[in-house]
Assembly symmetry: C2
Homo-oligomer: 251 residues x 2
DNA sequence: CGTGGGCTTGACGCCATTCAATCTCCGTGG
DNA sequence: CCACGGAGATTGAATGGCGTCAAGCCCACG
């Protein structure tokens, strides 16, 4: 997975130079100067192993972080030790854009797979928002889409049964990866425990649900990676309505 | 409930002239000019009966709305007709602060009880955000707290059993009403169906849960209103940690 | 006085949890 | 080279939380 890293910054041709820019371009019509500034901001990054915290609950972090590669998540640990995953962050997503305003993190952010994480100082972000109004607007847009995703997750967990929940989550990730122009075929490499913590079900049940979806040909499994042979069928099965992602109609 | 309306705008003494200002004051140190402007903005309002939509899914609304009295909610209707309530809006909450950026509503907002709803034109909001930076910052803060509340609801629905869920929701509402300086004793007048749609459980089960909480003395019922005799006990029962509301320590 | 909305209660069944055991990989160290 | 151990996946049986279906109650309102 890491072999891909070296060239994601120079993705000529489309004008989409990195995944952050690609994502933000849905929120505002970015121009060359915007892309150039975003590329500069992504210069500094670090590689992090799986299962390590990017930010911990209670922190008042000095840097703003963005995911360049891998998957991380927002999560809380409950008093009895269970973990609740409230958001999955894929390449192009910001972790803590606005934490300066709230002051302290009320949850943690940790990696689920090995990740490359960009870190940007607060002052750079503040200057960015002042000097690049199109980027600022796109950041706003991204924040609001994140909120819309949260609401849909609430619907998903509250109203659907676990097989539909799982299918719905997979549809969303499929579209989110497509939206950032992910170069490879969608193949999700999360463990069943990570998926279970995301949906609020047990590992055992997550396994049964995955087995059932596989049985019905709605998903495929190879090398512990989930792939989707027919996204339209999976969307129909999970009653997936992509409006909440606020992507262009044909995606 | 409506007798109270006439005097909520002139709440001298504390300097908190309306619930919107009271809520926003947690996000930034508002000054007299800010309060004055907020009061002006709340001049125009309309009374709405229970069960009416303030904004509907798909709308691109012309006005921004704020709740002055009553309770409304964000909700979606699923294909099979079930309703999922994703947010409860109490006095002082804005409905659709940032909808201009997303373009169209991906959910609806409707009243649960009779409400007084302020409406402010988009241009007034835009001017407000430019000319009153402290209010703008406080609006940002409020948006981020709303997001934090959504995340906690996700934890609540995913990880807790329904009696704890119900108790947790009641604790949150208790603290949110306290935070805006609600003049009366906390007494929640939602129907069991509305609570059920919020927690993602059936009406029948909601009734059993409420009965059990009442049996244990954790809540009280009079005139179809839920009151909390001992908030500390209810918070302990539901493992309630108020950090996510980002209120001052002693609330 | 009839009607409808909201609340209450019981019986039954299913979805998901719990507990427990087994299996497959893989990386590590003897 | 093989033994060992841990992480993750898989499977089975029993339990229970919650949904479903159905009936009846209370009370405000036309």
């Amino acid at each position: 997975m890491f072999e891909r890293h070296s060239d994601f910054l120079r993705d000529g041709g489309t004008g989409m130079r990195n995944f952050v820019a690609r994502k933000l371009s849905y929120g505002a019509a970015l121009q060359d100067s915007d892309h150039a500034r975003l590329d500069e901001l992504m210069r500094h990054w670090k590689a992090m192993p799986a299962k390590s915290d990017i930010i911990s609950q209670g922190d008042d972090p000095e840097y703003v972080h963005a995911i360049l590669d891998g998957i991380s998540c927002r999560y809380k640990i409950l008093p009895d030790g269970r973990r609740s995953i409230m958001d999955l962050l894929i390449p192009g997503d910001f972790c803590d854009m606005n934490i300066a305003i709230l002051g302290r993190m009320d949850h943690s952010i940790g990696t689920l797979t090995p990740c490359r994480v960009a870190f940007i100082s607060r002052s750079e972000i503040e200057d960015l928002l002042l000097d690049f109004p199109r980027i600022a607007r796109a950041m706003w847009w991204a924040t609001l889409v994140d909120e819309a995703i949260l609401r849909e997750w609430l619907v998903n967990m509250g109203q659907r049964r676990s097989d539909r929940q799982m299918a719905h989550l997979l549809c969303e990730l499929y579209l989110r990866y497509a939206a950032i122009g992910w170069p490879d075929k969608f193949a999700l490499a999360l463990t069943q425990e990570q998926l279970a913590d995301t949906l609020g079900i047990t590992v055992v049940h997550a396994q049964r649900v995955i087995a059932a979806l596989r049985q019905d040909g709605l998903i495929e499994l190879r090398d512990r990676q989930i792939t989707i042979p027919d996204i339209a069928r999976l969307m129909e099965f999970s009653e997936f309505n992509p409006d909440y992602l606020h992507l262009p109609p044909e995606s």
